[in-house]
């Protein structure tokens, strides 16, 4: 029956009152953060769209689990919704490793307490600060005990994903059976020190949006060529909101360079495209980036039934609704709608 589920891998609850995050911190840290600069900045910690965005202030349903369930889970018959705390996705742009780890932990505590109990359909991607990977690994191990935690949201650090910096995080995620979620936050290509996008810092927010899949390409190439999936054979990584059309040409090029440069990476036992199908997932948003014609072939070229999962980005303004999946051909539609997510996310079968 898992094949018939509708699983949304990309829901965005938001913290709209920073005082709620303070309440999730130890007292001393609460005092550290409790000053007007932080409180003002925390309300805008969601820098997803950047300057020039038409997006509105956080939609009311984003801060209320029951309202979001009534507005979205119920009418669209969502069986499971993965909460991805997008305000945590930008933690990599902060410079204090300890404070950032405390903030990550507070975000996780907030959504676990306020949302997971509110509706059994919610699952949580816990966020970790990438600055101190051992501390991040401890955070993962602590949350792994909660069966409603289904993934780990990993803001990218200043090194490519193949770097040994991340290994403690990969080890902890693999041991817990939790896939990683890599999700754009708006810091990419917009702040000095954040991951660069091709060509440098782009003034146009549209360019930064178009290029967001570059970080998926960069990360996947690094993971594959540097042997991360050999070291961590159970690890899965989900790249959200990059769509997926680009993945066809990308995996062909990976295979070609793997053949060219075999002597540089003799640890690879499988072609990159095979590793891609085994270890990597992509979510669908934005579906508006897909062509009208040729969709069937495109889905086949990216092996969509093994690699593509539905993610709405609800309730942010450019979200997709599940009905938009109806134009996918029947065979792949069910796996995109939820079948693949059922085996990718950590979803323990209830006792």
């Amino acid at each position: 029956m898992a094949e018939m589920l509708t699983i949304d891998c990309d829901l965005h609850p938001l913290v709209t009152d920073p005082a709620e995050l303070l309440a999730c911190m130890p007292v001393a840290w609460r005092k550290h953060f409790d000053f007007p600069e932080f409180l003002a900045a925390a309300a805008r910690v969601d820098r997803y769209r950047g300057v020039g965005s038409p997006a509105l202030d956080p939609p009311p349903v984003s801060a209320d689990p029951r309202r979001l369930a009534a507005a979205y889970l119920d009418p669209h018959r969502i069986d499971l919704g993965l909460l991805v705390p997008i305000q945590g996705a930008g933690l990599n742009a902060r410079v204090d490793p300890d404070a950032t780890a405390v903030l990550a932990s507070a975000i996780n505590r907030h959504f676990a307490d306020r949302w997971l109990d509110a509706d059994p359909r919610y699952r949580l991607a816990v966020v970790v600060a990438p600055h101190d990977p051992r501390r991040a690994a401890r955070e993962i191990r602590a949350w792994a005990k909660d069966p409603r935690v289904a993934a780990v949201l990993l803001p990218l650090w200043t090194l490519p994903m193949g770097s040994s910096h991340y290994f403690p995080i990969y080890a902890a995620a693999q041991a817990a059976g939790l896939p990683l979620i890599v999700h754009p936050s708006g810091v990419e290509g917009q702040y000095q020190g954040a991951q660069q996008l091709g060509g440098g810092i782009h003034r146009a927010v549209g360019t930064r949006q178009v290029l967001v899949h570059e970080l998926a390409e960069s990360s996947i190439s690094s993971l594959v060529f540097e042997g991360v999936f050999v070291r961590y054979p159970e690890l899965r990584v989900v790249f959200s909101e990059c769509s997926f059309a680009w993945a066809a040409a990308f995996t062909w090029r990976l295979d070609k360079e793997a053949r060219n440069f075999y002597f540089e990476m003799p640890w690879m036992k499988e072609l990159p495209s095979a590793q891609f199908r085994r270890h990597v997932r992509l979510t669908t948003q934005p579906l508006g980036a897909l062509p009208e014609a040729g969709l069937d072939e495109l889905l086949s070229l990216v092996h969509a039934s093994e690699t593509v999962m539905f993610g709405s980005h609800f309730p942010l303004y450019d979200h997709d609704l599940p009905a938009a999946l109806d134009r996918l051909p029947g065979g792949v539609r069910e796996s995109v709608r939820g079948g693949l997510a059922a085996s990718t996310l950590r979803l323990p079968v209830p006792a």
Partner: protein
């Protein structure tokens, strides 16, 4: 064709505050009427994107075509921004200013005669009881 439209009186000109929608049930449809600095407009109170109450949105202008690196603001009072997702619609035509919404908001003709405001609505066919 306009002779087939019914005329519904929605009030006097002075009943309308600038940029403040007033919503009426006209021939079974929820229609918002607004007076702006650009005149009177009437639009269906349903956003074509996901059905939001469009007339709870903000009346505004929009960016005009301009040279690279500069902005020009205009059409003040001719645009409504949907309260749910921020899509902008021209009040006169109902067309979406930008974005992925393919359908128009439904716009209705407004007439002002001797200080009275009327909305022209095509009557619905009466269904059998």
């Amino acid at each position: 064709m306009t002779a087939l439209l019914e005329r519904h009186r929605v009030g006097a000109v002075e009943d309308f505050e600038i940029d403040r929608f007033r919503v009426f049930e006209l021939d079974g449809r929820s229609i918002g009427v607004v007076r702006t600095t650009a005149g009177f407009f009437a639009i269906r109170n349903t956003c074509p994107h996901e059905g939001a109450p469009l007339c709870q949105g903000q009346v505004r202008g929009t960016m005009l075509p301009s040279r690279p690196g500069s902005f020009r603001w205009g059409r003040e009072g001719q645009v409504v921004r949907c309260p749910w997702h921020g899509y902008d619609f021209y009040l006169g035509s109902g067309e979406c200013v930008f974005g992925e919404v393919r359908d128009r908001a439904i716009a209705y003709r407004v007439e002002v005669r001797r200080g009275e405001v009327f909305v022209r609505v095509k009557p619905r066919r009466k269904r059998a009881a």
